[in-house]
Symmetry: C3
Subunit: 382 residues, 3 copies
């Protein structure tokens, strides 16, 4: 069976997880753990458990044995074992068993609850590079007491400094506005006007959260100028997104406007719009994508999500990520489900004689490793 | 094979069909029957037959044996046998063999052609509860000679009376307008103004059919206040729908507005937007969905439609319905294809060792029975 | 295995390729060939090859043996063998082995690089009928020195003459504007005003390319009046399309407006909106569709794309096309992948006992041959 051979080879591949966040710093009880196994930010109702879901079943099937339990351990047993082992040991075991060789860590979201790059490197024993979130830098600038007129230059300087050793940037314009934004570059005059309104709002509310479309576009275009690859959250995410406004096709004009600048754009997750992302990756040389978050949360169905990502896009334009945040179960399953889905999909194609086994392996290496190394200019030996 | 064991267990499960209409009252000749095996309201052209379709093939494969014919009976033989047995016997056989244990009957559409709740209970020998269509109640109020100023209060009173013993409400705003409506609650002043225009139109045309968006929103918000679970037609339906305006994602802001009221919302059918519905069911605690009508009309492909419904949503948020209207073949196939699709999908997952068989059975019971009982507070022993 | 029997029968079926372009006239080196194996019009970057894609793998697997090479021949060997055989022999071999029995050739795009109807008939030994592109006729009229006032009548006359022996018309409004156009018929006054603006622009720029929505709608409605079946490009195509504006659902009101005229409309490709197209084909008697271009470019995944096209639409409303343009590999693979995908999909359904083998064969004949003959009133013996 090609699937078995493929799986054996794939299991040895040191993946580059090109979009991921830190593992948890602290212990989590059952309620806290369940709340991190969904993109919902609403409390889980008492009449249900998030363990009764694709991801919940996958955690119990695949992570339980890594913690020394039988597959399909019940939730109580699973959480008790987690507590017994302690956060550090749970992190160490699940990260190590994932076989990920290199993490590109996005550090912009709730950094205090999760490991920072140094912490992840220590917990995993693997190299970690940083991806800087544009909106977080902008909000940090606002917190320093900048004036509206100063904001454009101050943001550019701060971004340059913050990303000096970063390998990529990240945009969450999908969350804060949607992809139906004006695809042109705003001028500094517009930006200062918008900054004036925003800074006043920050002062009035005491909350610094950027959602003004002019400022979001400004941050994005500064990212384009910075020249590092830019990751864009696309598709499925928490209830802040209006999902129909996060279809990557809505970016078409923006993609065309960015094309002459030579900056690479990476569409993250894209679920359920992965076919649309594949189209964009075929026709635009600077556009890449993955099905990151869509793998973990669809569990047994991730085979199909992965297969759907292997349609229009040339194989040089597809990447792997877990988008894990918090529980190292997510880091582990992201890699495991991707390996299984690739082995099953490509295994069936080679078994039928329509794909060559060596070329199937080449495709696995491209998507799991080589493409990310090329796009992000990674220099580690992995 | 887990599929076989699952199928045996699933076959014994008394399903709650949470959105269904009555079976036919009268005999149907071949032409009438074909016309009810499509969502098109156009006459079937003479150069084709609706029996040459997924649902047509499924009727002949699965319903023919229930009527005492060989599988794959040709259409002439099939229709002749139907006529020979008579409507009552055809209804009795197909409803009984479906193994449905409880019907939630929506009574708002073409009630004169089909069995009412009492008739369905008699034909099936199973308990029947009622779901009341909001727009039908509003049109009934208009027919009573109400003034525009009286309409808001009169509607609220009539709805309370009509739904006194109902278990749920239903909205067809998808048909009458689309989901791209203003998600806010209209005030009574706006409603009376819209009612004035509508009642004048009713008087001028002699036709009472509500499509004014303010009135549709008014009916919906009265439903929210009523507190019963509200079913919303979503996705695929007859040519009255503009399908791209019936993507449930377009409801996102409305769902958020309803959330504080504690009223449950159930998205029906959703085809081909079932993945979008799964997203909404994950992130919003009060949102549920099914793939009802999408099962019958995709026949052999319903396995895939069902599998796509098992991605993001927690298993506590998915329900079963047939949306059958008229021919009891639809009531029968809705249950049969759902049972087969669940058994095949979950059977493959348990065969691979990734799902536990007992938990697969639990998921089947949740979707086919338990979730509906909880949402609609059903008290029958089924 | 039903799949084997089905494949044997399907292999003998002389397909009607109802939307296709000419095969290449001239030799192509590796770079030129790769550039024609993608819908991108951007140069393929030096760090990748288009052979590392679904279509690239399919060419090497399936076309290499037709040229006398082993399956999976590497790109260098493959291109060298092509050059050795020469364009005429490559065309002859690949067209002949495709088993296509009748070509409906759309002649409106880059005619100078590819074979015309006579050339295709000679190269393939099969009958060729013509499909006339509306926008090309309109642009030809503009090149003749017409005035704005004369344009409406001149277009109608020229269209009548150009399509006198054609079997169908084609619209690329999806490329030039998107489907979000005003669905009504423009009057000649509006058309002349738009023509005045366009002709002035043509004179100023020296480029004759119609994208004015009024003129595109005018051409389309003239096509409706002409009465021949109209093919509409839908979904996936080159970077000129904004894919989200090419969802065939956006045509709903236009389809309703055309319905009383009795002109058939054929939605081409539709990827990734094939399910939406299936809905339209179920509810509107004059609407048909295929998954043409989506088959070739998804390679191993075309089985799934084909299966998704077999959901809502009655089997009398689905057609086969390759949309091949240029390399005869595309003509060959379009037929081969369709045959394999149909055999696998319907084979699994007959193996399970749910479809009857003879009826599965009937469905294959309808989609591959009979439906096209009926819609286009073809008279050849194929």
């Amino acid at each position: 069976m090609s699937t078995e051979r493929l799986l054996a080879e794939i299991d040895r591949l040191p993946l580059v997880d090109h979009h991921v966040h830190g593992a948890l710093r602290h212990d989590a009880d059952r309620s806290a753990l369940e709340q991190m196994l969904t993109e919902s930010d609403r409390p889980i109702p008492p009449w249900m458990t998030q363990f009764d879901s694709q991801i919940g079943f996958a955690v119990r099937r695949w992570c339980a044995p890594v913690l020394g339990l039988a597959p399909h351990a019940d939730p109580e047993t699973y959480v008790a074992r987690r507590t017994e082992l302690g956060t550090d040991e749970v992190n160490r075991r699940l990260l190590d068993a994932s076989g990920v060789g290199h993490y590109l860590l996005e550090t912009g979201y709730k950094g205090e609850d999760i490991l920072d790059p140094q912490g992840m490197a220590a917990a995993s024993g693997r190299p970690v590079d940083e991806v800087v979130r544009l909106e977080t830098v902008l909000e940090d600038v606002a917190r320093t007491g900048v004036t509206a007129a100063e904001l454009p230059d101050r943001f550019r300087e701060t971004l340059a400094a913050r990303s000096a050793t970063a390998v990529g940037l990240k945009s969450i314009v999908a969350y804060r506005h949607g992809f139906d934004f004006d695809p042109g570059r705003p001028d500094d005059h517009e930006v200062s006007a918008a900054a004036g309104a925003w800074l006043a709002e920050c002062a009035a509310t005491g909350t610094v959260r950027v959602s003004h479309p002019v400022l979001l576009r400004f941050a994005l275009w500064c990212g384009v100028d910075r020249g590092l690859p830019i990751q864009l959250h696309a598709g499925y995410g928490d209830p802040d997104v209006e999902l129909h406004r996060c279809d990557p096709l809505l970016l078409t004009r923006f993609l065309k406007n960015v094309e002459p600048y030579g900056t690479d754009l990476l569409l993250l997750h894209c679920y359920p719009f992965q076919r649309n992302a594949g189209y964009l990756a075929q026709v635009f040389p600077h556009v890449y994508f993955d099905v990151g978050l869509g793998i973990n949360y669809t569990g047994m169905r991730s085979d199909t999500v992965i297969a759907e990502s292997l349609e229009l896009a040339p194989f040089a334009k597809i990447l792997f990520s877990s988008d894990a945040w918090g529980p190292p179960e997510l880091h582990h399953l992201g890699a495991l489900l991707w390996r299984r889905g690739m082995a099953r999909t490509l295994g069936a194609w080679t078994d039928s004689g329509e794909w060559d086994l060596d070329e199937a392996l080449k495709v696995v290496r491209m998507i799991g490793h080589d493409n990310a190394r090329r796009v992000y200019r990674l220099e580690d030996p992995a």
